[in-house]
Structures are given as structure tokens and as C-alpha cells.
Symmetry: C2
Subunit: 216 residues, 2 copies
């Protein structure tokens, strides 16, 4: 099915936090059925390349009949190997220009941004969206940059020249503050992965997004 880049509620999957391959598959199926709009495979712990490949293949299959794109974090070769819909890279990954050359013009490229200087340097002609974070403290990413807070997020949103998604410690208790900045979407891991009721967690976040969009 034709994929659509919609950053509204962006699920980042981590094998450890989401219960391994089986957990990632089940979480994705349930979360997407209830409205998650984008899915990224990421791993903070080193994985064998074959594990990345098998997980990406399985997730691609789960999303096959949906408009929800699958993005692969960092591993451009895995993205190419499974013909994923895009890649998300950080500031310490391959240069974005090279990533765009490798992945081609049709696929999605996302870039992490953690401060004003990085935002000003974003090559928007090569990038489809940026991920801004971490907004709040998070345990999901060991090497995360300093926490930005909502005020700094607000200032970054004001200078950005393309779509963005906020990431880092976002959950139902703080999602409204994040959306008040006018950002296009939020990315979550733990607010969906590992929750006792994936459906309920997803629906609650979407309800909050809907209400926040009506207010601001």
C-alpha cells in the first residue's frame, strides 16, 4: 500500500523495551490498528546485523497493508536490504547527503536535532523531517543529548523549516505541553511499548493529540 509520512503519533520500537521481536510485532500491530502513524526500528543495544534484518523484514510485513511507513534507525544497509520506507539518522551517523544518495530520492530521511546550531544546519532539501529531542529525561537512549525542555523545543519549532517530531520522555502526562509548541507530532517508545494495554495507551495519546490540536 502507498505509504504516507504522517508524524502525528510516531512509534519508536526498541527490541529490549518492546519485548523482543515478538513484542515489537504485536505492539506494532495493535498500535497501528489503533492509529499510530509511523514506525521506526531502533536499538540502543548492539544487535547482530541479521537480527536487524529479520526484525525489519517482519515489521515490514506487519505494515504491508497499511499507509504507515517503516523507518530504520541508522542502518542504511538494512533499510536497503528490506526496502524499508525510510531511514532515521543521528548527528553521528553517515552524513545526510550520503544517506540520501544511498537511499534514493523516493524514500523518507529523518534527522535527529538536539540544539539550535544543529537545527540551523539541517539540509532541508535532503531531509523529510527532523526529530527534536530529548524533550524530557529518558532512559530509552543511553547516549542522549542534554534534555531540552519545552521552552527550548518551542524556540526550535519556531526556527525549523520543515516538519518535525518531538521525542524523549513524552507520555500522556506531558504530551499536551509538547503539542502546544505547534510541532507536527510526537514520538514515543515507553508510552506505548511495554504498556499493559497497548490499545488503550495508543487511543489515549491520540485523544490527547486531537484535543490539543483543537485548542491550539
Amino acid at each position: 500500500m502507498q505509504k504516507r509520512l504522517d508524524l502525528t503519533l510516531y512509534l519508536v520500537l526498541d527490541p529490549v523495551l518492546c519485548g523482543g521481536l515478538t513484542g515489537m510485532i504485536e505492539t506494532t500491530r495493535m498500535a497501528v490498528a489503533n492509529g499510530v502513524t509511523a514506525v521506526q526500528l531502533r536499538s540502543e543495544h548492539p544487535l547482530e546485523r541479521s537480527e536487524w534484518y529479520n526484525a525489519a523484514l517482519a515489521l515490514k510485513e506487519v505494515l504491508a497493508d497499511t499507509t504507515v511507513p517503516l523507518l530504520i534507525n541508522d542502518q542504511v544497509d538494512v533499510a536497503l536490504a528490506v526496502q524499508a520506507d525510510g531511514v532515521h539518522v543521528g548527528q553521528s551517523d553517515l552524513p545526510v547527503k550520503i544517506v540520501r544518495q544511498l537511499i534514493g530520492s523516493e524514500r523518507i530521511v529523518g534527522l535527529s536535532v538536539s540544539n539550535t546550531a544543529q537545527m540551523q544546519a539541517v539540509p532541508w532539501s535532503q531531509v523529510d523531517y527532523v526529530g527534536i529531542g530529548p524533550i524530557f529525561p529518558t532512559t530509552s537512549k543511553g547516549d542522549a543529548a542534554p534534555v531540552l525542555g519545552v521552552e527550548h523545543l518551542q524556540s526550535l519549532v519556531q526556527v525549523k523549516q520543515g516538519p518535525a517530531v518531538a521525542i524523549g520522555g513524552i507520555n500522556s502526562s506531558n504530551i499536551v505541553q509538547v503539542l502546544q509548541t505547534g510541532i507536527e507530532g510526537v514520538a514515543v517508545i515507553s508510552a506505548i511499548c511495554g504498556q499493559a494495554n497497548i490499545q488503550q495507551a495508543t487511543l489515549q495519546l491520540l485523544q490527547q493529540i486531537k484535543q490539543a490540536r483543537m485548542q491550539f
Copy 2:
């Protein structure tokens, strides 16, 4: 310069064991000037993708005016990004068929083999050579398979259907035994990297290879 796949004396570079980027560059320059025939960039420790990229770019430059190919371990996207001469993958990396598709037909693909079953499963139409090991105990690779020993190497050499290089703990004290199996070449890390005199270490290994080839 046109590259040539010659497995005779194959240097595997590890950033930690070879003194970081500067050490890898200096070691490569000296080792290749004295007869090393192939170079692979590998890292047992997780590296940022940008570090892989920068190291690969620098090594490609060092080898630009030589016939010695640069191979990248595992990271097919890094190999593509710097247009390296090939990749070397293990049994837990991307499937060889996929690696060949990504890297194209012109570049070198090497595959690690650690036992008879893996040797029998080698897709020789996709692979330019195999790396057999570890032959002896080694501290260079934390997740290495069980030590093969020279007898098992001998049996693998007898059934292989293409060129091979032996790897794992090979140095001037045991290189002759390895070559007596009739294998095309040997791969070394510590026998060159970190040696006080890179030139002397390289020349000694090559002299031993030459003598062994005359005898057997």
C-alpha cells in the same frame, strides 16, 4: 588504481588494536609499502557510523595509488558510502545474497566460515573468498567461534571451492603450519598492528610465506 584481490597477507585493522585512526593510517601505509596485499577495516567495539565513515574514507585515500583493495567489515552502507572495494561479512550479518545485491557484481564479497557446515553452505557464486577461523586463540575478537586448529583448517581447505584466507591468532610462530594446509593466504591483526616495527613485522611474515610456498 585498478585493485587486485590477493589474499597472500591480509591486514585486518581494528581501531583499538591499531592505535586509533592515526595508528590505522600509519600502519596501513607502512604495511602496504612493504607488501601487505589486502586491507580490511573492522571494529570489535561499537563505533559511531560517522567514525566508520571517516576511517574508511581516510584508508581509501591511503590505498588510492596501490592495487591493494580496501574491504569494510559488516557495514555495507559504509562500504557503499566511501565506494570501498568490497565488504567482508560474517554468518550473523546480512545474508550474502542481499549483500551482493547491495554492493553490486564488481566489488569483493568475503564471508567468514567457522566450521564444515558453514563451508558446505557457502554460496560461491556470490562470494569472492572465505575467511576461515579462528585458527588459534585470539583476543582480537570477543565473539569468535571455537578455535579450529590446523587439522580442522586442513579439512576445510580440502573441501572449499574457492579462495580462502586463514584468520585468528596467526603470527610468525605459527604461520608456516597454516600455510602447509595449502591455503591461499593469512589474515593478521596483532602480528602487524601494534608491533614496534611495522616494516620488519610485515617483511618477516612475507618472507615466511615465500619460504613456505617454495616448500609445499
